[in-house]
């Protein structure tokens, strides 16, 4: 399953026509202790680059953007009781939401893992 990354530190896994979205290990490290995640409601239409979710750390609220255009299909209910999953398992159990893929061509503009690693190393 291919994984893509954005320069806003979201990751996106695409399987068939459904994408799973979360924030990267680098992102959770920068945010620190996460206390709440506000997820988009199922059925919400997201535009690539638009606001999708909000992640609240002890210190501040940060926006999470939609990496591609599509419709929200599912939210990660586990984050409601245990938002710290985003800190302990950002790129697996701590995923945020699943969405449809409206336009596969949008994926081409995203980074692969090697490119993202290089991007983070340069920050």
């Amino acid at each position: 399953m291919p994984r893509y990354f954005t320069d806003e530190h979201e990751w996106i896994d695409v399987e068939d026509d459904i994408a799973t979205v979360g924030i990267t290990d680098y992102a959770q490290e920068q945010l620190g202790d996460i206390v709440f995640v506000e997820l988009p409601a199922i059925g919400t239409m997201l535009d690539k680059g638009g606001d999708a979710a909000v992640v609240e750390s002890v210190k501040a609220a940060s926006d999470v953007y939609a990496p591609i255009t599509g419709e929200v299909a599912e939210g990660n209910g586990m984050l409601e009781d245990d938002p710290a999953l985003v800190n302990s398992s950002p790129e697996e159990d701590g995923w945020f939401f699943r969405m449809t893929v409206s336009d596969k061509a949008e994926l081409e503009g995203l980074m692969d893992e090697a490119a993202y690693k290089e991007f983070v190393a340069g920050l």
Partner: protein
């Protein structure tokens, strides 16, 4: 993902402990004109680091905070008579300073004629002079204000070559007593000069038993050339870990302590800020300070139940925090706004300070806070949210 913009005006100053913070995994951010650690991480931090771990460690053991950004000032006259400095300072603030005995300290405010808060500060009588500790972000304005309004015979000294360390937490007393014998005898809001023998030298420390976390603890003033030795000696004790600005903010919020520039400003008076405890009774009547008329009018308003607005604590349902600027509602009516808010690590739910229309300021009043598209149910709650545990003597 877009983290909050932490940028500030350049250029930033560096603290005497800058390299020490970095070697202890301090994540440096701009604050009050300095690069300061917001939190720590890495092998030297026994609890693993991060704001919540640093917060909890402070409530359970002891944490070392570098607060050297704060302004350390001294006032005295040519005869080393703190009495004349006290009389002069009393014209600028509402606290009783002339009766402050050597070794005692008091919380007060610099006020405008309109009763607005220029800064909140600590005033101590050291014996030969008055020592003031003011907020880092306000210190240059405070110095200008003091210099403008104090008579020429009062000397104002800015101890800008001194660092300030805060050791805070229930184990702070035993830790500091083991390092600097005698400090354990200080009680809350008292201070003294201590000698610390280290590396064949005697270092002088001005130590006060106070802080900004709600816990027992100390603030230690030390020359910048010796501060690294002291920081190392303190964290060498297993009971002590360093803690950054993030934990300092969540701790003071739980303790109900206002942060200047957020919960206090030029447009806010101490009565509206619910800090009337710091308005000395004698001086409420006698006056003779900037802002007295306005303060007297606000106190009369408060007495008559006619105060326009008041600072309150809010306990928020659920887990979503409300931040500074969030609007507070009673039904559909906007009745105030949040000035500080966040998740309370100790309580496990969000808390906030807000200014609300005083008709809605009674404890137990049910309100809503607007956060993005949601309304968060909130209850007006007494502060501190987490009880203070100051050491007032055994």
């Amino acid at each position: 993902m877009a983290p909050e913009d932490m940028s500030a005006e350049m250029p930033l100053g560096t603290l005497p402990l800058d390299a020490w913070h970095r070697s202890h995994g301090g994540k440096m951010v701009p604050f009050a004109g300095y690069e300061m650690p917001i939190q720590y991480s890495g092998d030297t931090i026994s609890h693993g680091g991060g704001i919540v771990a640093e917060h909890t460690w402070t409530r359970e053991s002891a944490s070392l905070f570098d607060v050297s950004h704060m302004g350390q000032l001294a006032l005295k006259d040519a005869d080393n008579d703190p009495g004349s400095a006290a009389r002069a300072l009393e014209k600028l603030l509402p606290g009783l300073i002339t009766n402050l005995k050597p070794g005692k300290m008091r919380y007060s405010f610099l006020l405008t004629e309109a009763g607005g808060v220029i800064d909140d500060l600590m005033v101590a009588n050291t014996g030969p002079h008055l020592a003031l500790v003011v907020n880092g972000a306000c210190k240059w304005d405070d110095i200008a204000h003091l210099r403008e309004h104090l008579p020429d015979e009062i000397t104002l000294t800015h101890f800008d070559d001194f660092a300030l360390l805060a050791l805070q937490g229930p184990k702070a007393g035993e830790v500091l007593e083991s390092l600097i014998p005698g400090t354990g005898a200080l009680t809350f809001m008292t201070a003294g000069l201590f000698e610390w023998a280290i590396d064949g030298e005697t270092v002088h420390l001005w130590i006060s038993r106070a802080g900004y976390t709600g816990e027992d603890g100390f603030e230690i003033s030390i020359h910048q050339s010796k501060v690294e030795v002291l920081a190392n000696a303190l964290v060498a004790d297993d009971r002590v870990n360093p803690a950054g600005l993030g934990a300092r903010d969540s701790l003071r919020l739980e303790a109900g302590l206002p942060l200047y520039g957020h919960d206090l400003d030029l447009n806010t008076d101490p009565v509206t800020a619910d800090l009337s405890f710091a308005l000395s009774k004698k001086r409420r009547e006698a006056g003779g300070y900037f802002g007295h008329q306005a303060i007297a009018a606000r106190l009369a308003d408060a007495e008559a139940g006619a105060l326009a607005r008041r600072r309150v604590g809010l306990t928020i349902e659920g887990r979503m925090p409300a931040r500074e600027g969030a609007e507070v509602y009673s039904g559909d009516t906007k009745i105030g706004h949040v000035t500080s808010g966040g998740f309370s690590p100790t309580l496990g739910h969000p808390i906030a300070m807000a200014y609300v229309d005083s008709a809605y300021a009674a404890e137990g009043t049910q309100l809503d806070i607007a956060v993005r598209s949601k309304r968060l149910p909130a209850t007006v709650s007494p502060m501190p949210f987490v009880p203070h545990r100051y050491f007032r003597g055994s």
